[in-house]
């Protein structure tokens, strides 16, 4: 039984999961620096969301990645693939050594996730705006007596796509109770601030108008405690789709790379890498100390 299954054999403290999320950031930074491409900003933005999902919430078994009863995760913002890969590898879906093949020819770790290549990936993504529709289809497929949870993570880019709003409208009609939408709302996109590119506010009100259950407040997407609390709220909703807006920071963890569209997809150069890695390590060590105390 893996550490990643529900009824976890290992229960993690908040501080442990915070430290793990930082460790995953370090690995992602290493990978992106080595390959010279990939998306740091969006990957760092979802570190805690994915860590809490896979190590605290989701019913999954890396030994049976296609288990029909497993919970599903769709990373609709597929450019955050490096963070997903790092989390999946730690869960045990594939060897962690394989992470170093990211974006290489013949690698199972494509630039954007491919479900038919890599165990643990529940849906291929890349083109934005697909995740909510697909998640709706997955949620509606669960037998009434054997429900599984379907989680979808989107960013601003996905919510710019009209297809997302078709899906949001449809989820309000079909009302699956096992669909949770998690919005990684860092408010920065490739070209700049989302407020300038395509304003999305007010998000909670929009979803309420589409007949979704809307989380009672905006949660801190970098606080494990907050993410746990938000998902606990989601579990308590008995009817209809659920949406949680998370306040996050693009590039979270390296101050000079945070909140900037430059780090949407720019290669991690040597100088940036040399400065960023110690900063991430220091934060990780801080969380480890907190946990030990």
């Amino acid at each position: 039984m893996s550490v990643c299954t529900k009824n976890k054999t290992q229960k993690y403290t908040d501080a442990q999961l915070q430290a793990m999320a930082m460790e995953f950031r370090i690995k992602v930074l290493d990978m992106l620096h080595a390959v010279g491409s990939g998306h740091w900003g969006g990957s760092a933005s979802v570190a805690e969301l994915l860590t809490v999902l896979y190590f605290d919430q989701m019913n999954i078994n890396p030994d049976m990645p296609a288990d029909p009863q497993r919970d599903r995760l769709i990373l609709s913002k597929g450019h955050a693939a490096p963070m997903l890969y790092t989390v999946l590898a730690r869960c045990g879906f594939f060897p962690e050594s394989e992470l170093d093949t990211l974006r290489e020819v013949d690698s199972r770790l494509q630039g954007h996730p491919c479900m038919n290549k890599l165990p643990g990936v529940d849906m291929s993504t890349g083109a934005l705006g697909h995740g909510i529709s697909i998640g709706l289809g997955m949620a509606l497929s669960a037998a009434a007596d054997k429900p599984y949870q379907t989680y979808v993570i989107v960013g601003e880019g996905c919510l710019n796509e009209g297809s997302s709003w078709e899906a949001i409208m449809a989820a309000g009609k079909f009302k699956p109770s096992n669909l949770t939408l998690m919005i990684d709302y860092n408010k920065v996109q490739l070209d700049g601030y989302s407020q300038d590119i395509m304003p999305l506010d007010p998000l909670p009100e929009k979803f309420a108008a589409f007949n979704w259950n809307v989380a009672p407040r905006v949660f801190d997407g970098h606080s494990v405690k907050d993410v746990r609390e938000s998902l606990s709220w989601a579990q308590q909703q008995e009817c209809g789709p659920k949406v949680i807006v998370y306040q996050t920071r693009k590039g979270k963890g390296v101050e000079s790379m945070e909140d900037s569209n430059k780090w949407h997809g720019a290669p991690v150069d040597d100088n940036t890498y040399a400065l960023a890695r110690p900063e991430l390590e220091a934060t990780m060590n801080k969380w480890k100390e907190i946990n030990e105390n």
């Binding site: 291929s124 529709s133 509606l140 297809s163």
Partner: protein, 316 residues
């Protein structure tokens, strides 16, 4: 066309087939985009409302919801107007259904000119070209109502996406086509030695008339009905072309990239012979009665006869 042949609309056969298959296959789900009364998936909804989803006029959402279902072991059939599936759901069909090799059946209603009075905005003359270009996609264009249920049953045996093109209006039913339907296999509707005619969809019925007309003029035409455009029965095509030395393709579709394109690719690479393509030229069409439009845009017995004469004249 002969009046003695029964005429049945492919959409009616489709609606009945879904009900029949739904009785046997609990995995079947049918999704429509607010055109179920037109595409006849309403028949499935009436019988199995718990397995039917109307997502409104949102073809992209339609395709992706089905994709999600397909990953969970269900067998979804999505139904809408063929042009709008081809244009509005292309991203979903390509990037989600085909890329992940998901067993979704994409039923393109009102194919070709069959939505005749609605005009160019609704007439679907590019669907085969678009679907054919997508990796993993199977492309079917049956001619006859009796092919529909066998085609759906064959499609459901595969773990792959399948596009099946349907039509709105009653068309001649050719019972022999319903026997032993196989994806990737053509059918010889008539043997001949002077020229090969390759057709799909409704045009196979019209080509059959043309073959009789040609026979009266002393021309022996072999007629191949290719309901399966991808994969194409290259073996049957090449064997016939080697015998006759000339080929004419006939389709209710643009001459760019459809059946004619597929045949040209096989012949060009393997056994080049004089080839003529019959289809709608590279233009927008218009409103009008179906039969009038078919004639105006060159999808007629006369056109086939003319092109056969032309291609035979090119034989060395």
């Amino acid at each position: 066309m002969k009046t003695s042949i029964e005429r049945v609309a492919l959409r009616d056969a489709f609606g009945k087939a879904l009900v029949n298959i739904g009785a046997e296959d609990a995995r079947l789900r049918v999704l429509d985009a607010d055109v179920s009364g037109s595409t006849k998936t309403c028949m499935f909804n009436e019988k199995y409302p718990d397995r039917f989803y109307n997502v409104g006029v949102a073809e992209g959402n339609l395709a992706d919801i089905a994709a999600g279902m397909a990953t969970c072991g269900l067998r979804p059939v999505i139904s809408a107007f063929s042009l709008f599936l081809s244009l509005k759901a292309t991203d979903q069909i390509r990037n989600v259904i085909c890329y992940n090799k998901l067993p979704v059946i994409i039923a393109g209603g009102y194919g070709g000119l069959s939505d005749s009075f609605d005009g160019a905005s609704h007439q679907s003359l590019v669907d085969i070209a678009i679907m054919r270009a997508l990796p993993e996609m199977i492309v079917l264009a049956p001619a006859s109502a009796c092919e529909i249920e066998p085609a759906l049953r064959e499609a459901l045996k595969l773990d792959k996406p399948v596009f099946i093109r349907l039509g709105r209006n009653p068309v001649p039913d050719l019972p022999e086509l319903g026997e032993n339907f196989q994806i990737g296999k053509g059918k010889i509707l008539c043997g001949g030695t002077d020229v090969t005619i390759v057709s799909c969809g409704l045009m196979s019925s019209i080509a059959l008339e043309a073959v009789e007309n040609l026979a009266n003029r002393g021309v022996s035409a072999e007629l191949l009905h290719f309901a399966s455009i991808k994969p194409l029965d290259a073996t049957m095509l090449l064997s016939s072309a080697q015998k006759t030395g000339a080929v004419v393709t006939v389709e209710e579709h643009t001459v760019l990239g459809g059946l004619g394109g597929a045949v040209a690719e096989v012949l060009g690479c393997n056994y080049p012979v004089p080839l003529e393509l019959i289809g709608v030229q590279d233009c927008f069409t218009e409103s009008g009665p179906y039969d009038v439009l078919l004639n105006k845009y060159g999808l007629s017995v006369d056109k086939i006869v003319d092109k056969v004469k032309a291609v035979i004249a090119r034989k060395k």
